[in-house]
């Protein structure tokens, strides 16, 4: 109990003093996960929407597989990306291993199924409501997808945020492909793991508090924007 309260005060001190190390680590976490979410969403939104509207043999199997991949163990994804990006691997020439880019790739791969599966569900449900009207207006498949993605933008933001939350909380994959290099690939989660392994539990917990606070604030802001926008647009 004492350790926990000690950690909260340490967290407060770190934040209030704009501790340089903390800021750069937190900033890197946001940057890596932010870009990972952006890249994953750019692919997952159209893919999920397309899958929602498509009809082809084996579609249920694809959906089941996508839903299953939501539970991909992060450390396995990390290992696979590591093998791909290692100099001994097929993409070694890119020299991406042990850089933030490798972490972004690993996180993007990890959260793509989450976002895509959620998008698929949301769009498929909406399609039930919109289908007749859109078909009556002669909208093409692509036009339907775009109209639905835009119309469901509030619910879809939740899906994207879910992906972001998963990405920024992830430690296994980024540890393997990033190497937890001080000042280069050390993010909040790997820093917490490091401090824990060094036995500095109060600091580890303090970092944990900061990480949770970051995620909560981001979600709060998103929620506020969503509520105001929904009130305006229905």
């Amino acid at each position: 109990m004492q350790e926990i309260s000690q950690s909260f005060s340490l967290a407060f001190v770190l934040i209030a003093s704009f501790d340089g190390a903390l800021l750069s680590i937190a900033g890197l976490s946001l940057r890596v996960s932010g870009i990972a979410v952006l890249a994953a969403s750019l692919l997952a939104l159209p893919f999920g929407a397309w899958l929602a509207l498509a009809r082809f043999p084996g579609r249920q199997g694809v959906i089941a597989m996508l839903n299953g991949m939501m539970g991909l163990p992060p450390v396995v994804v990390g290992l696979l990306v590591y093998l791909l990006l290692s100099r001994a691997g097929p993409l070694g020439a890119l020299g991406m291993l042990f850089t933030p880019s490798a972490m972004m790739i690993a996180q993007a791969l990890l959260i793509f199924p989450i976002i895509a599966a959620l998008v698929r569900q949301v769009i498929e449900d909406a399609w039930g409501e919109y289908r007749e009207q859109l078909v009556s207006l002669n909208a093409s498949r692509g036009q339907c997808i775009r109209a639905l993605l835009w119309d469901m933008r509030f619910t879809l933001t939740t899906a994207v945020l879910a992906g972001f939350g998963r990405a920024i909380a992830e430690v296994g994959a980024v540890m393997i492909v990033g190497g937890n290099i001080d000042g280069v690939t050390r993010v909040m989660t790997t820093a917490i793991a490091l401090e824990t392994s060094k036995g500095d539990l109060p600091l580890a917990l303090a970092l944990g508090v900061v990480l949770i606070a970051m995620v909560v604030i981001i979600n709060l802001v998103a929620q506020m924007i969503k509520t105001t926008a929904m009130r305006k647009h229905g």
Partner: protein
């Protein structure tokens, strides 16, 4: 700016021995009819008679399991563009009223989307709401937006599936006036309703369905004054048909 409808290109439309079954249940059976240009056709019948299914078959949202829907033009793209439909529950996009109408126009590649949308909104009297979020409007207003959206497309045929079923009398009147105005400009109306009064107000011709069969197909005068079939007669008397 008088708007004259182009001469009919897709009508007349004929349905030949249409049938539709789903899940082992036959919903429509041996329905044959034809729709000619300029008419106001009302499809009536009790709930479950097959009115909605018939509308969707004619409009092309469903594929018949028996028989065929034939238009007089073989260019299916043109046939599709010549129709519009308004549903019982209006489906509004999460955008402004104006943008909802513009959306439909953009899909057709219309040259002057903004002007055409403005004109459509004027005709239904909703310009003052043009920039309001469509989903925040009342049921009646939303249905008028749906009508404006359909009207902006200048369809040859306008299908309406119980458009005022969920509306209060004032809103219903506004919708009926708009439908009449749309018809006056040359659009053929095909509408379902279970409201006898509405049918009397609007119809030239009534198609009466009972248990999936077309039991009567006559002019409105004959239907309301001297119904030919016992089911129609019972319906007009206000009896429950089952």
């Amino acid at each position: 700016m008088a708007e004259v409808m182009n001469p009919p290109r897709a009508l007349p439309l004929s349905a030949e021995r249409l049938g539709f079954a789903a899940g082992g249940v036959t919903v429509l059976n041996e329905v044959s009819l034809s729709i000619t240009s300029g008419s106001r056709n009302i499809v009536m019948g009790s709930n479950g008679a097959g009115k909605s299914v018939l509308m969707r078959l004619l409009h092309g949202l469903l594929t018949p399991t028996a028989g065929a829907v034939k238009w007089s033009n073989t260019d299916m793209a043109l046939v599709r563009r010549s129709q519009a439909m308004v549903f019982q529950r209006p489906v509004m996009l999460r955008r402004s009223v104006r943008e909802n109408v513009e959306f439909a126009l953009k899909l057709t590649g219309h040259e002057n989307v903004h002007r055409a949308a403005e004109a459509a909104l004027e005709r239904v009297g909703l310009v003052h709401l043009a920039d309001r979020a469509a989903r925040l409007c009342s049921g009646g207003e939303q249905q008028r937006i749906a009508l404006a959206r359909a009207w902006a497309l200048q369809p040859e045929v306008l299908f309406l599936d119980e458009p005022t079923a969920s509306l209060d009398p004032a809103a219903t009147r506004a919708i009926e006036e708009t439908i009449t105005a749309i018809h006056a400009q040359g659009t053929t109306i095909v509408m379902t309703t279970h409201d006898l009064g509405q049918a009397k107000r609007i119809a030239d011709r009534v198609l009466f369905l009972h248990h999936g069969r077309l039991v009567e197909d006559t002019s409105a005068d004959i239907f309301f004054q001297q119904p030919q079939s016992p089911e129609a007669a019972a319906f007009i008397r206000g009896e429950l048909l089952w």
